[in-house]
């Protein structure tokens, strides 16, 4: 979808978060000098077109006790990858699941699934569950734990 200059102002005003006040859309509208109804209509259009994926909280896994977060990676036969990826993505402990190109010879893995757990033992047992789903289509796998967050800012749209 093509976004116009007003959408861009709206995105810039909300990408860090919504104000925690009873009428948040009216507060944004006042800041942007727009009617509240226009702010709400534009947000709905952005949601329908997929520019806004969801309006929601992002919980901090670490604060909720999920301190082990691993990027599990799998070399799955291409012909079975979509069907199996759907099953892995549906697991309740997987937060992101993607097919990506391999980078041979350095990197043989094509399926990526982020696994969250309270400790590495729990993550390891969840890997075992995924291994069982992938069965004979699995050729190799690995897991990469994050050791440090070096940067985390999310999307920052320029002023345009």
């Amino acid at each position: 979808m093509n976004i116009d200059a007003t959408d861009r102002r709206l995105i810039t005003a909300t990408q860090a978060g919504l104000p925690l006040v009873p009428a948040p859309y009216a507060a944004i509208a006042a800041d942007l000098d727009l009617p509240e109804s226009e702010v709400m209509n534009r947000l709905k259009t952005l949601q329908e077109s997929g520019v806004i994926r969801r309006i929601a909280v992002a919980p901090n896994h670490y604060k909720l006790g999920m301190t082990a977060n691993g990027m599990s990676v799998w070399d799955v036969t291409d012909s079975a990858a979509i069907e199996l990826g759907e099953q892995v993505g549906a697991l309740d402990f997987v937060s992101h699941c993607y097919l990506r190109p391999r980078a041979l010879p350095d990197w043989p893995y094509n399926l990526f699934a982020m696994i969250h757990g309270t400790d590495r033992d729990e993550v390891a047992s969840k890997r075992t569950e995924i291994r069982a789903i992938l069965g004979d289509s699995l050729r190799a796998d690995d897991i990469l734990y994050s050791t440090k967050i070096l940067k985390k800012t999310g999307l920052r749209l320029g002023k345009g």
Binding site: K44, S49, V57, M71, Y98, L99, A103, I149
Partner: protein, 148 residues
């Protein structure tokens, strides 16, 4: 630590916050709490970092831009300086050190498709290290909800 009401709030608000004049009042009614209690609890959870963000999640790809996961193999003695050079790019949205031969993993978010390759090339020339690109070919539906 968070209590049972906070958990209900986190579970409810991982999707579907209303776009209506009094959205907190609508969610509070569903949860059987007051509007002001909901707002106060969200503010407290934001302040103590139980929530890292609350609001719209934008998809750069749907606006004509692109995301790409990238990885580098960085020699340990150079790790700090390479981190500094990579992070200096505003297009680097997240960057994680990981325990693997490919020990630096970051996400590029750019407003145009061609932006990814441009930034990756600049990082390669600034660091003298290859940048491997892992664009998503397919994204699977996620059933995940943090069971708070």
């Amino acid at each position: 630590m968070i209590d049972a009401t906070d958990r209900k709030i986190l579970n409810r608000l991982q999707d579907g916050f209303p776009v209506s004049p009094r959205p907190f009042a609508a969610v509070a009614a569903e949860l059987g709490i007051t509007e002001s209690d909901l707002i106060d609890r969200l503010a407290a959870m934001k302040a103590n970092r139980t929530i890292t963000r609350f609001g719209p999640f934008y998809d750069a790809a749907a606006m004509g831009g692109a995301f790409c996961l990238c990885a580098m193999q960085v020699p340990e003695p150079d790790f700090d300086i390479v981190t500094e050079r990579v992070n200096a790019h505003p297009e680097v949205a997240h960057n994680y050190a990981r325990d693997h031969r490919l020990n630096m993993w970051f996400v590029l978010a750019t407003e145009t498709q061609s932006g990814i390759a441009d930034v990756a090339k600049r990082i390669e020339s600034e660091t003298g290290l290859p940048v491997l690109l892992f664009p998503k070919e397919h994204e699977f539906f996620i059933g995940f909800r943090v069971a708070a």
